[in-house]
Symmetry: C2
Subunit: 193 residues, 2 copies
């Protein structure tokens, strides 16, 4: 039980977690590095020992959040027993994550943040990569052409991503999860046109 030791010990980690909690409640645009530092009981300049600037800090928080998002997606695919439903289950998991954490959506996918994470061929987007791999496997087993697989994959991810955007908007309080499942299942992705 330390009583304010001069060296915090795990300040970097605590700063990130405090920032994450703050964004969960108030959103990125309200975040001030000085306030986060104060909440952690350190001076305003302390964070600069661990982060180059505010963008660097925001980036670290985003990395942290992206990891937790990816964890829930991977867990979902591992737990899914019915192989044929894995794509739609992955989609529901994706959407519900942002239904539960609406303020995360803008933060994770805003152009300002994502341009750090996307390479020039836009294939360095972790959730999209997971989708792509899963979809290619499922659809490939059914003998779909490569071009068709690509289109279906992008379509499936776009649908899910767009549903997430809706889920992150204010004022949705119906039984959204079951409707999301119905919507995703209402589109047949498995057959070529």
């Amino acid at each position: 039980m330390k009583n304010k030791p001069y060296h915090h010990g795990e300040l970097r980690k605590v700063l990130i977690e405090t920032g994450l909690e703050f964004i969960h409640q108030y959103g990125e645009e309200k975040l001030s590095l000085r306030q986060i530092a104060e909440k952690c009981g350190v001076s305003n300049a302390a964070p600069y020992a661990h982060f180059k600037d505010k963008d660097d800090f925001i980036n670290a928080v985003q990395q942290y959040m992206m990891d937790s998002f990816m964890d829930s997606l991977v867990t979902c695919t591992n737990e899914c027993r019915n192989h044929s439903e894995i794509l739609s289950e992955l989609g529901v998991c994706y959407v519900m994550f942002f239904y539960r954490n609406p303020l995360y959506f803008d933060f994770l996918f805003s152009r300002k943040n994502i341009q750090i994470r996307l390479s020039s061929d836009n294939h360095n987007n972790p959730p999209f990569e997971l989708f792509r791999k899963t979809a290619e496997q499922i659809l490939g087993e059914r003998g779909m052409s490569e071009k068709n697989i690509r289109h279906k994959t992008i379509a499936m991810w776009s649908l899910v991503h767009g549903l997430s955007a809706i889920s992150a908007m204010p004022g949705i309080d119906v039984d959204w999860e079951s409707e999301v499942r119905d919507i995703i299942n209402s589109i047949d992705f498995s057959e070529p046109v």
Copy 2:
């Protein structure tokens, strides 16, 4: 040719247009009201005669941008000659708007901005409303059930909205428009499952 008259004349309009141009180039998060005022040749407090605060200004710019976005969508539906293709053409128009103006996407649809525009039943979203009306008309003509229409409509809008999110990401330089058309057409929205 006025030489700096004390009263600008149409400052409000010029501020909005300057803000729009700035966001087009640099994005919302870089925007400073003082800089916009300086670009317009007025003092830092001048905007406060026309806007309550920065949020109010941002909101006005967003309204302006939303109107121009809606204009291009409505024009698209009016110009579409082939009735059966109207939905997919509307989708392509939607997506390509953000392909041409990537920084507009976050600005128009970020939770921070959109919560001003969405009522509690989330049916006050102009582009979604246009989609809904169009889809209900097209799909209704084919005798689809009401529930199915709702699901297909949300699915179609989600797909298009998600594709827009991709289009607004950096590093997409292939022949995106034709691929977007293929992707949208690869999904059959007209038949119930």
